[in-house]
Amino acid sequence: MSVDPMAYETQFFGFTPQTCMLRVYIAFQDYLFEMMLVVEGVMLKKLDGIPGCKISPSQIRKCTEKFLVFMKDHFDKLFAKMEEVLLQLVLNIPKNVLLPEDRVQEEYPYSKEEFQALQDELQQLQQQCRAEAAAEQALRAELEEQKAVKAELEKILQCFDGLENICREHGAGNFKESFALLTQSSKKLQDVLKDVEEKSKKMKQHDQLL
């Protein structure tokens, strides 16, 4: 006969039903023996007080044993029946019953693979979130840079516009042209200067060689 470990019942009650029954059995048995000893003790004491008593303690002991054997036999049979009923009807959880604390087991029956897939999906989502956060940082950084660059460019544009306004105010419509001519001639001058410098260098080298 295989012994049912009654693990689910243990989970619910907080103790193993069979252990509980055993504890109770031992306790009851102890009380029975105790009472019998008390009975015997009372009788022996009484007999002690009777002078010339023909009943010996060992006789009383035999009486006690006789009664005890009889009681123990009935006790065991009756207790066995009680234990059977309790284990079947009271301290048991029927096979079709799921404890409330285990409801998730039937609501989310995930296999190992399904569970792993869920974990992988979570990891992937977290990575994607991190990537989006990095992208956000980069985008906002560029936005900041753009702000600074735009400000600079707009300043330069303002400068130019300012110059034009001055020209218009002072009626120097040709100022632009003359300024442009000036830049051109100063450039020409610079070129000429460079030419002269090079030529003089060459002459000096010639002189040195000579």
Binding site: F12, M36, H74, K81, P94, V104, E121, F160, A180
Partner: protein
């Protein structure tokens, strides 16, 4: 007082009541077996000497035995909060009465069993992440648009400046 006066008119008695009945029956039958006749039979020599004392000893023995047994039962009930557990279990069983298939039972392997307990948290976390990702992507799309517009504007400004430069050449 009858301990079975519960509110429900259930056909079957609750676990607490079965428990009480079974224990009472046990005691009854035990006391019946250890009858006074039987007691006297065993202690005949003493009975002949002291019949009245025998009766009183027996009465005390039986009542003390019953009291001890009932006390032990009460202690077990208190320690394990059995009354409460019995009525909870009765309710749980009643709720499952229309269900025929065997229910889930622990597999004995903790790693297997813990999976299902974690799934609801993971699912919640997943829907949170999905929403956060969607929101962030949407936000970034808008910022990217602004960045592109900014680049266009800068290019535009650079062109305007170049045009001015050339006009002043």
């Amino acid at each position: 007082a009858d301990g079975g006066g519960g509110p429900a008119l259930s056909a079957a008695p609750g676990r607490a009541q079965v428990f009480a009945t079974v224990v009472d029956t046990f005691l009854e039958k035990l006391v019946a077996a250890g009858s006074y006749q039987r007691f006297v039979n065993c202690y005949r020599c003493f009975y002949k000497l002291q019949p009245q004392l025998t009766r009183s000893i027996y009465d005390q023995f039986i009542s003390q035995l019953q009291a001890s047994i009932k006390e032990e039962i009460q202690e077990v009930k208190n320690e394990g909060n059995l009354e409460g557990l019995f009525s909870s279990l009765d309710k749980i069983v009643e709720e499952a009465k229309d269900r025929e298939e065997p229910a889930w039972r622990p597999s004995g392997i903790p790693e297997e069993d813990v999976r299902s307990t974690m799934v609801p948290y993971f699912l919640k976390h997943r829907s949170y992440l999905r929403r956060a990702l969607r929101e962030k992507e949407e936000e970034n799309r808008k910022v990217a648009e602004a960045v592109l517009m900014g680049r266009d504007r800068i290019a535009e400004l650079q062109q305007l400046i170049q045009a001015r430069q050339q006009a002043w050449q």
